[in-house]
């Protein structure tokens, strides 16, 4: 009887994380472990120029001297960096390819994930529906990027990082590491040494990117890490909206995902960066799941430049990430909208940094944390104003919602105003999902699950409405799935 119940439970678990399948794709790996040889192997695999290899090796040497940070409110056993693969790729020739050349098995994987890589299908869609160009990253490599022709007609470069290093070396060399330096932190430094692929975007002056760009990250291989690197440059007066999605199979061991995202925004330019993070969160007892240790930063170099980060974090066993804005340009502005949901044994330590360097810079932070089960969620945020940042303004609102009696929510704001004209506001609330609200909704006919969904969606509404339409719908569903069985 117990065994039956257990099996049922496992099946339910499977259904809850519907992206948890493993695909049988013929793959090749770098030798296990991390050494200078691994770094050289990756660089050679990608046919990189000498300067790139040197940059990686320098990062690797710096990493050896760094220590893993321990200040976050997360706990996990020590990671053995020698017990993982740093490169895993579908077996195929490298180089840019058209859709027709992509392994049909791979296309099938993305189809199963609900991501269409077929331009014709997207084109044949409903008239007027927004279109998305997709860069699909499978373990360590980008397998295909869609709509390249149309984008390049507008002057927009959208390709994999490997391709950018090869074909747009000058741009990469100019901007790579200019926002997140090699030795910025332990995980960013590791990424700088072994990053395998990711997306590169360049939008030229005055161009409004004609469609949404998106990258879909998929970890498939066992015992491998994913280290992608994304670099987006919006030149003067340019605009681009970029979406990022991620999933992984369900595995009992933990896998490391240490990504770096750099955004460069010049005068009057704007980047909108949205993430729906749904890495495998581990099972109910906290076995398995992704360690999501990510560094994301935007440099608003230009005057009146603007960056908006929106994130919906539902997955990963541990999330450690602080998408930040360096507001250097005069009158530049940064926004951070976040929903972080933890359930079961998940841990999240996430937030943002708004660093006001220029005069009349503005920032806005809306963070919504939801904790259920035995999970723990921390908002950690820094708002600082440099002496030169006259008239800097920030508004921060952090709300935490607790579901059940065994979860925890923490808010750790750091505020530093080093000039008298800066005006910072901080509001924070912590509430428990109220029994009265649940009963009221159920009295009207909603089941307990439906009632929780409705109340939670109300709680996160301010952030959901910042997401592009299609993503908002997806995110709303994800929120519901993440919290299934969290009450009662």
């Amino acid at each position: 009887m117990a065994a039956v119940a257990q099996t049922t439970e496992q099946v339910l678990e499977l259904e809850r994380y519907k992206h948890g399948f493993v695909s049988e794709i013929d793959q090749e790996f770098a030798p296990k472990g991390l050494s200078e040889a691994t770094v050289r192997f990756i660089s050679a695999k990608k046919g990189e120029p000498e300067w790139m290899l040197e940059w990686r090796l320098e990062a690797y040497r710096r990493w050896l001297a760094l220590e893993e940070p321990t200040w976050a409110r997360v706990g996990y056993p020590k990671i053995d960096y020698q017990d993982a693969y740093y490169y895993a790729a579908p077996k195929e020739k490298t180089g840019p390819k058209s859709l027709d050349e992509v392994d049909p098995e791979l296309l099938a994987v993305y189809e199963k994930l609900g991501i269409s890589l077929k331009e014709q299908e997207v084109l044949a869609g409903v008239e007027g529906a927004p279109r998305y160009a997709v860069d699909a990253v499978f373990d360590s490599v980008s397998v295909v990027t869609t709509f390249k022709k149309e984008l390049s007609a507008a002057g927009v470069i959208f390709c994999s990082m490997s391709e950018a290093i090869r074909d747009h070396g000058d741009l990469v060399r100019q901007y790579l590491g200019s926002v997140v330096p090699q030795s910025d932190n332990y995980f960013a430094c590791l990424n700088s040494a072994v990053f395998s692929d990711g997306s590169f975007v360049y939008v030229p002056p005055g161009v409004r990117c004609p469609m949404e760009l998106s990258t879909y990250f998929r970890i498939n291989a066992a015992e491998s890490g994913q280290f992608e690197r994304t670099l987006i440059i919006a030149d003067k007066g340019a605009y681009v909206s970029y979406l990022e999605g991620c999933t992984a199979p369900m595995r009992d061991e933990n896998q490391l995902h240490a990504a770096v995202v750099e955004l460069v925004v010049l005068d009057d330019a704007e980047i909108k960066y949205s993430t729906v993070q749904n890495w495998y969160p581990g099972d109910k007892e906290g076995r398995g799941g992704i360690y999501n240790f990510v560094t994301k930063r935007a440099d608003c170099r230009g005057d009146r430049s603007k960056v908006s980060w929106t994130q919906v974090e539902t997955g990963s066993a541990i999330t450690w990430k602080y998408p930040s804005c360096v507001l250097r340009g005069e009158g530049s502005s940064g926004e951070f909208y976040s929903i972080a949901i933890t359930n079961n044994r998940q841990q999240a330590d996430t937030g943002t940094k708004m660093i006001h360097l220029g005069a009349n810079t503005r920032s806005r932070i809306i963070a919504k944390g939801i904790s259920a089960g035995h999970s723990s969620s921390t908002y950690r945020g820094l708002v600082s104003a440099h002496p030169k940042a006259k008239g800097a303004r920030n508004f921060t609102q952090c709300d935490s919602l607790l579901i059940g009696k065994h979860c925890a929510a923490h808010t750790t704001p750091y505020i530093e105003a080093r000039n008298a004209s800066a005006k910072f506001e901080h509001e924070a609330t912590t509430t428990r999902l109220s029994d009265d609200q649940l009963f009221y909704a159920m009295q009207r006919g909603l089941s307990q699950e439906e009632a929780v969904q409705l109340l939670v969606n109300g709680f996160v509404k301010d952030v959901l409405q910042e997401l592009p339409m299609e993503f908002a719908v997806e995110a709303q569903k994800l929120v519901a799935i993440s919290l299934e069985g969290s009450v009662g």
């Binding site: 029994d435 909704a441 009207r444 307990q448 969606n457 109300g458 709680f459 509404k461």
Partner: protein
């Protein structure tokens, strides 16, 4: 339609209702009156299934179905509606969204088809107009920042849209000025129907000038101590509850 037999209810191990029996046939409106602390709200919460209201004995059936075996949403789907004395605020959820979700949840539970968006809007517009409610108010978060009167009107609107078999109105008159009281009462009267029963819980006789009950029951110390016609309410208004409080003690 509603049949309560020897119902006993405790809250935090303290007995509040003891051996209460009551029948409300279809098509009738019954009023429950009583002094503060008699157990009036406890009766409505226990019937609706609020957690923490522990039934320690007796039974309650709606159309022959055992209510006490069902969770609150199943009771709602069976046709039980409770108009709250203190309606709850739901931040971030527009009243229209809430109402449509509720209506469709009930339809689903009964195996009926979902209502289409245009049909739903037509239905709500009509009912809101009858209650002299500004339709734009329904786009705001449910009950958040609403006045006491607006909240009560919203309860009656929900009742009108959900069209229950049994409506329990808990102190619907509290917090209403005379104009709002009239509008709300008209809304309730418009819902009187041969296949619907209503239980009106009130402390004051005033409401019963507008909603004329078929029967009046006096609840004191957790049980019904007297029943009669509308004239019983008038007597209570004149003489107070003293006689019944003593009788129960």
């Amino acid at each position: 339609m509603l049949s309560i037999r020897n119902l006993s209810v405790a809250v935090e191990d303290k007995p509040i209702l003891s051996g209460l029996s009551l029948d409300v046939p279809a098509g009738e409106v019954h009023a429950i009156m009583g002094p503060n602390g008699a157990g009036k709200s406890t009766l409505s919460y226990a019937l609706a299934g609020k957690p923490g209201y522990e039934v320690t004995g007796g039974s309650a059936a709606l159309d022959g179905a055992d209510l006490l075996a069902l969770d609150p949403s199943e009771r709602a789907a069976k046709g039980l509606f409770l108009s709250f004395q203190y309606p709850i605020e739901i931040p971030g959820v527009p009243a229209l969204t809430f109402l449509r979700t509720a209506l469709n949840a009930q339809h689903k539970a009964r195996g009926e088809a979902e209502i289409s968006a245009p049909d739903f809007l037509r239905l709500v517009r009509g009912k809101a107009a009858a209650l002299k409610m500004d339709f734009d108010m329904l786009k705001r978060s449910l009950n958040v920042g609403f006045s006491g009167g607006e909240k009560k009107r919203m309860e009656i609107l929900q009742m009108a849209v959900l069209s229950p078999r049994l409506a329990i109105l808990d102190e619907t008159d509290s917090g209403l000025d005379i104009d709002a009281l009239r509008i709300v009462s008209e809304g309730v009267n418009a819902m009187r129907a041969p296949d619907r029963a209503m239980l009106v819980i009130t402390h004051y006789q005033r409401l019963l000038d507008y909603i004329r009950p078929d029967k009046v029951h006096v609840l004191s110390a957790g049980t019904i101590v007297a029943s009669g016609g509308p004239e019983l309410a008038l007597e209570l208004e004149r003489e107070g509850y003293d006689k019944y409080v003593k009788a129960a003690a």
